[in-house]
């Protein structure tokens, strides 16, 4: 994946670039709004990571608005030190696709970049999701593993659907809270883990090969790979 990072703090920039490269991505970076806008407008990227407050006269949100007006559809992740919900809403309204508050864990950033990229691929929201021998049909709301039907509570279904839409990608607890429960705060407990282990019991318990895995200090992943 080709990713542009526009971030003025050199330490954060190097940390993120290094991590993205280790994860196998090609990266470009700019330290100010002017260079960032130039790169974003001239090169095709899969995802743009944009710091909200930038030196050089143009701030991140302004760049995003210009890019969107110019017809750029590239998914954009906004990084910001402003944590208030209003700021988040303003950021998303300017044309950003996701919002991550500093300081952040790199795993969180990577997972969100992957999710953004996946979303931009234009998936069929109605097609059945298949991971290994696990199948989830969004229309009939049926879940089967092998030849056995699994009955899930509505929220468990939503949880599994989100995980399967991001199959083979790490999904963080925060992403699950935001997307499955619409909770934009940190409940400070391991409740998400409890939900996951309940779900795991239903889909993995009696099968040899676990599909719902915990990724240490990052989150979870549904995958059929080894």
């Amino acid at each position: 994946m080709k990713i542009l990072l526009v971030e003025d703090n050199e330490r954060v920039r190097q940390f993120v670039i290094k991590g993205l490269q280790e994860a196998g991505h090609i990266t470009d970076h700019a330290a100010n709004g002017r260079d960032g806008m130039f790169l974003a407008a001239s090169e095709p990227y899969d995802v743009i990571i944009m710091d909200r407050m930038l030196p050089g006269g143009i701030d991140g949100l302004a760049i995003i608005e210009v890019l969107r007006k110019a017809g750029t559809l590239t998914p954009i992740l906004i990084l910001s030190a402003l944590a208030e919900v209003d700021d988040r809403i303003r950021g998303l309204r300017s044309g950003g696709d996701d919002y991550l508050t500093k300081p952040f864990a790199f795993g969180e950033l990577l997972a969100r970049v992957d999710a953004l990229h996946r979303r931009s691929q234009g998936v069929n929201r109605e097609a059945p999701l298949i991971v290994g021998n696990l199948q989830l049909d969004p229309l009939t709301r049926k879940v089967t593993r092998g030849d056995r039907q699994i009955s899930l509570q509505p929220r468990e279904f939503k949880l599994l659907e989100y995980l399967m839409r991001h199959a083979d990608q790490v999904v963080t607890r925060t992403m699950l809270l935001e997307n499955v429960w619409d909770y934009h705060f940190d409940p400070q407990t391991n409740v998400v883990d409890v939900h996951i282990s309940k779900l795991r019991q239903k889909i993995d318990a009696e099968f040899e090969r676990p599909l719902l895995r915990t990724v240490r200090s990052a989150g979870y992943m549904v995958t059929a790979r080894d």
Binding site: A83, E84, V85, D86, I89, P103, A105, R155, W181, D182, Y183, H184, F185, D186, P187, Q188, T189, N190, V191, V194, H195, K198, S217
Partner: protein, 477 residues
């Protein structure tokens, strides 16, 4: 010195004088016109009578009649003069024909030297009788006192108005200065840091008093906020120190001991967790500050409290199950309200999370949402845990306070104060009450009249319940 009271008084004086002049001028004019008309009629009648004598007795007859009248001094305010055609006086009490008066018949208003009475403004009538000119007139002596009284009266009124106005202005200014001075003293005491001072108020409801009361209300709020900030900074200093100290010693130990890689990484992970704790405290504080500032009202939308609670209960159900706690949920109907869904969800989550923490194994936790008789919405989270002693009830709402029961459990002591701040933002309250055993924490939210109406008809439609923008903004104020 400029003073608003004085300028106001001067303005009123000027206004009063204008009114007086506007009142007196037409009166004066009307009076003058009436008198003049009357007098010229009298003069004409006089002249007519003299003309009759002339016609009857001829010029000599008239001359002797005039002489007789002047001699008798019948009326000393009268002017009489008979001249020949070259204006040479023949009879009368004027020594000469007034030089500024032309010899054309008619009425004139001139100054005439009437000898013993000096120069008088007089109305005269000139007539031609054959070979003679006749001049009759009356001086103003009779009306002078009246006019004088009029002017005295007017001047007196002006003087009284000016002096009284000036006095009232000065007194008002003095009273105002006294009150403003006391306000200034109070304010400067506040500027110098003593927030306890309040402006003096009286029982009267005058403007200044109302203003003083409003300002006192503002000062109360400021004092509360400053006090809160002071408390919070003390608490931050204390509560951030703990994880930071742990972090520091952990890192220092790593640097000194240089343990095996595996242990090093475990320590680094622990250090990251320490940092996360610090960040969490900061986030909670920022959110509290944000709520305190009342900025979040913009995020108010119509929502269903019952649904919000149902989601929270469902969210915590597996955790309760894990602890063998029975989690019950009671809600009547949808309970529409206007509020910030994120904050209300966080408040609910905090309450349930707290209750789960303190409820004993195999305990019972009840979440109920209902409308009270007075129309307010009530969200109650009740557990059968150890409860909170009365002496601690107020304290648990303070920021960073952690009761004895919470020792050894994770948390930073911001949970309940956050819930309280959220309830307050929504115009509601947070109540703690004993359940013996256990604790009931109740959020009471006033529900606006219109948003209190059930959605009713819309319920049967297939479309998801549409937001009610009007009720939202009405209740959000």
């Amino acid at each position: 010195m400029r003073s608003s009271a004085l300028s106001l008084a001067l303005g009123y004086i000027a206004l009063g004088m204008t009114a007086l002049v506007l009142f007196a001028a037409p009166l004066w004019y009307a009076w003058q016109v009436t008198i003049q008309d009357g007098r010229s009629e009298i003069l004409q009648a006089d002249a007519q009578r003299l003309a009759d004598i002339y016609r009857r007795d001829g010029g000599d007859g008239l001359k002797s009649f005039i002489d007789a009248r002047v001699h008798m001094q019948i009326a000393n305010d009268r002017i009489l003069l008979l001249t020949d055609l070259s204006l040479h006086p023949l009879a009368g009490n004027l020594p000469v024909w007034p030089p500024q008066l032309s010899a054309i018949p008619g009425n004139y208003r001139i100054k005439v030297d009437v000898g013993e009475h000096g120069v008088q403004q007089s109305l005269v009538h000139v007539a031609r009788l054959g070979q003679y000119f006749l001049l009759v007139g009356r001086d103003n002596k009779l009306f002078a006192p009246l006019e004088r009284r009029f002017w005295y009266g007017l001047t007196g009124a002006v003087a009284v108005l000016s002096i009284a106005g000036l006095l009232v202005g000065l007194i008002t200014r003095r009273a105002l200065m006294l009150r403003i001075h006391s306000i200034r003293q109070t304010v400067s005491a506040i500027i110098h840091g003593d927030l306890k001072h309040r402006l003096p108020t009286h029982l009267s409801g005058d403007e200044l008093n109302t203003l003083a009361r409003t300002i006192n209300g503002m000062l109360d709020q400021i004092e509360l906020l400053v006090h809160g900030v002071r408390n919070v900074s003390n608490s931050i200093a204390h509560d951030l120190r703990t994880p930071l100290a742990e972090l520091r010693s952990r890192l220092e130990e790593l640097s000194l001991m240089r343990p095996a890689p595996e242990r090093t990484f475990a320590q680094v992970d622990a250090a990251v967790a320490d940092v996360d704790r610090v960040i969490h405290i900061f986030d909670a504080l920022l959110r509290l500050a944000e709520i305190d500032a009342g900025m979040r009202r913009s995020g108010f939308v119509p929502l269903d409290l019952a649904e919000l609670a149902a989601t929270a209960v469902e969210f915590y159900a597996p955790a309760a199950e894990l602890k063998n706690i029975e989690l019950e949920f009671h809600a009547e109907e949808p309970l529409p309200a206007a509020g910030d869904p994120i904050l209300l969800a966080q408040a609910l989550s905090n309450l349930i999370d707290n209750a789960l923490k303190y409820a004993p194994e195999h305990g019972v936790l009840d979440v109920s949402v209902r409308r009270r008789a007075d129309g307010a919405a009530e969200i109650a989270v009740t557990d059968n845990g150890p409860g909170i002693a009365d002496s601690e009830k107020a304290k648990v709402l303070e920021r960073f306070y952690r009761g004895d029961a919470s020792r050894g459990t994770p948390g930073v002591g911001l949970g309940l104060s956050l819930v309280q701040a959220i309830a307050k933002l929504h115009g509601g309250t947070l109540e703690l009450s004993d359940r013996n055993p256990g604790l009931s924490v109740v959020i009471v939210l006033p529900v606006g009249e219109r948003s209190a109406e059930p959605r009713g008809a819309e319920g049967s439609a297939e479309a998801p319940p549409a937001p009610l923008p009007e009720t939202g903004s009405a209740a959000a104020r």
